[in-house]
């Protein structure tokens, strides 16, 4: 019996899917890029029941590690980790940009284009910045091949770095289904990873006080 896989990504909206041996058994998408904490429980419960299985049947949990705005991203990773604990499943992490890359390559082949240009995948990083990563294509089993990134940059900086002649850009939306497909391909390639650490790419916004004693002068001034 092929393994049941629960796929979770909260790098943009809340998207959850259940796959069995590469076949999609259910998918739930909440598009709004907020309210992840509110949605995640229902999304998982509905995906599991939609697949017609008990939670205990899930053998692998796959989660998108971002990069993404932090607050939402963490909710998906925390949920994936705890679900895996709860059912004794294996836990795997995948770059959310890998799922976008797979969708982009699939879109290109669907339109019959024969371009072999690398694809630049971007995602909203807020604060007028984009997360980005550059992919050359897919492995034989269908896993995106990362050649540069991931990083975070202003759109102008990206334009400067990657000219239109060099790379192709497409707009695709992230889906947990694609995350699951990347996972299946990585399993076959032997590159699937148990690392689920969030990819923040930015430091926490906090500045240590320069001179601790400055504090008193500021408040009394």
């Amino acid at each position: 019996m092929p393994n049941w896989t629960l796929c979770i990504d909260t790098s943009a909206g809340t998207t959850v899917a259940v796959l069995q041996g590469g076949e999609v058994r259910s998918e739930i998408h909440f598009d709004e890029n907020m309210k992840h904490a509110e949605r995640i429980g229902d999304a998982i419960a509905q995906a599991i029941s939609g697949a017609g299985i008990k939670p205990g049947r899930v053998g692998s949990v796959v989660v998108g590690r971002g990069p993404a705005p932090f607050t939402g991203l963490r909710i998906g990773i925390a949920a994936a980790a705890m679900f895996a604990e709860g059912v004794g499943a294996q836990l795997f992490g995948i770059s959310s940009l890998d799922a976008l890359a797979l969708a982009a390559f699939q879109k290109r082949s669907a339109t019959g284009e024969s371009s072999s240009k690398p694809i630049l995948v971007t995602a909203d990083a807020r604060r007028s910045e984009h997360y980005w990563a550059l992919y050359s294509g897919l492995t034989k089993n269908g896993a995106p091949i990362l050649i540069e990134g991931p990083g975070v940059a202003k759109p102008a900086a990206l334009d400067q770095k990657f000219s239109e002649q060099q790379v192709e850009r497409t707009q695709v939306k992230i889906s947990a289904v694609d995350l699951g497909k990347v996972f299946d391909a990585q399993i076959l390639d032997g590159t699937a990873s148990h690392v689920v650490e969030a990819m923040y790419l930015r430091e926490a916004d906090a500045v240590a006080p320069k001179v601790l004693r400055d504090f008193g002068k500021k408040v009394s001034g």
Binding site: P55, A198, S220
Partner: protein, 504 residues
Amino acid sequence: MSTAFIIREAAETDLEQIMALENACFSNDAWDQDTMHFEVVAHHTYYLAALEGDALIGFAGLSKIPGNEQADIQTIAVAQSARGKGIGKALMLELLKEARRLQAEELFLEVRADNPAAQKLYLNLGFEHIDTRKRYYQPDDVDAWVMRLQFARTTIGREPIVLGIETSCDETGIGIVRGNTLLANIISSSMEEHARFGGVVPEIAARAHLEALRPTLHQALAKANLSLKDIDAIAVTNGPGLGGALMVGVGAAKALSVAIEKPIYAVNHLVGHVGVDILERGQLETPTVALLVSGGHTSLLLVRDLLNDVELLGETIDDAAGEAFDKVARVLGLKYPGGPEIDKAAAGGDPKAVRFPRGLSLPKDMEKHRYDFSFSGLKTAVARWVEKTEAAGEELNVANIAASFREAVADVLVTKAVNACLDHKVPRLLLGGGVVANARLRELAAERCAAHGIELRIPALSLCTDNGAMIAALGAQLIMAGRAPSSLHFGADSTLPVTSVQTL
């Protein structure tokens, strides 16, 4: 809400009143007196009466034949005038407990198809609708729902094992309780990571929670010597606290609940601090005033009933007391967290050396803010004192300043808490929150409470700081009170009011 009714086992002498209520409630198909008499006195039945004074306002009966694994709810009735007070639920809970004591595995009942209120009560208690008997109730010609409760799938009548998850600030806490008994209380703190910033950085706290979740869970299960299969329910803090930090716990708890197919209870962090006393004393004595003091909160609560009646008397209007300790520690060149550092520095200092202001304690402030606190003025006063001393070229007596500052904080906290006890004639004060670690606060509270005949409760420090055990304990209380679980839709609420003990 104190309820005025009592429940006791029914006796033959109640028969007259039971029949009057039976006839009033079931005019068309009431049992006759002989049937009822047999039911109430039979050995295989257990009948309860609910009374308001001498008046019987409800009754209910259970039938359980020895050796039979199935039991039946025979009947339940509540007087029209007494409905909506939870009497039906209270009667049912007692019958359910008795059925479990009698080792029933399943409990059945029939309910009219046209009585949605009763159906909802039974569904909330864990009954399932398994069959419909057509036209069962005559002469009304109404169908009966057959409902079943499986004891293996409910915790009613036994102590539930609850796992609590707390991530509202910089402590990842996972605790496990069985009813009122503490089984595990594991805390992973990110305090050291905040040290160089002199205060809790929300993003750093949230990142640390994510990393600490799994190891903390493993340790808690190992400590309790349990596996997740043994857990009956999950409880999680959904506020108040730091939004991003809370959300890590909420997401984790929901996924765990779905994975192990057990209910989830979203509970209030501050009420958790109050309820933790149950783990030490087996119960919470009410009414009590609770003073909760930490780096994030300074709140004075009046608790008449843990689950039903928690009132916020006052809170800080600016900094939390713990924050004031951190900030003053910085002014004095001491390390983070400020509480223990100032405690250390104050040793040997004169608490009367400098009379620092007691926030919101002047008569005009007391009118509007009798139970509120303010610490930002105090922190500024310390900063000015330091500047003035240095400008005058005098040497700073850190011990005296630390002792005087600490005295000002402890004094205002204890004064207002004791006032609250006296004003509301509550003979009890409970302390909670990390600042309870402060020796002078404990000492002053003990002194003043003793002087006014107020009983002081200070739980162990590991239960005073933020922890998952208090969240698990509050969840267990909700379950044992027969509360329905939360949905999966609730969110994190950084300003959740104390009146919201559970978010549905």
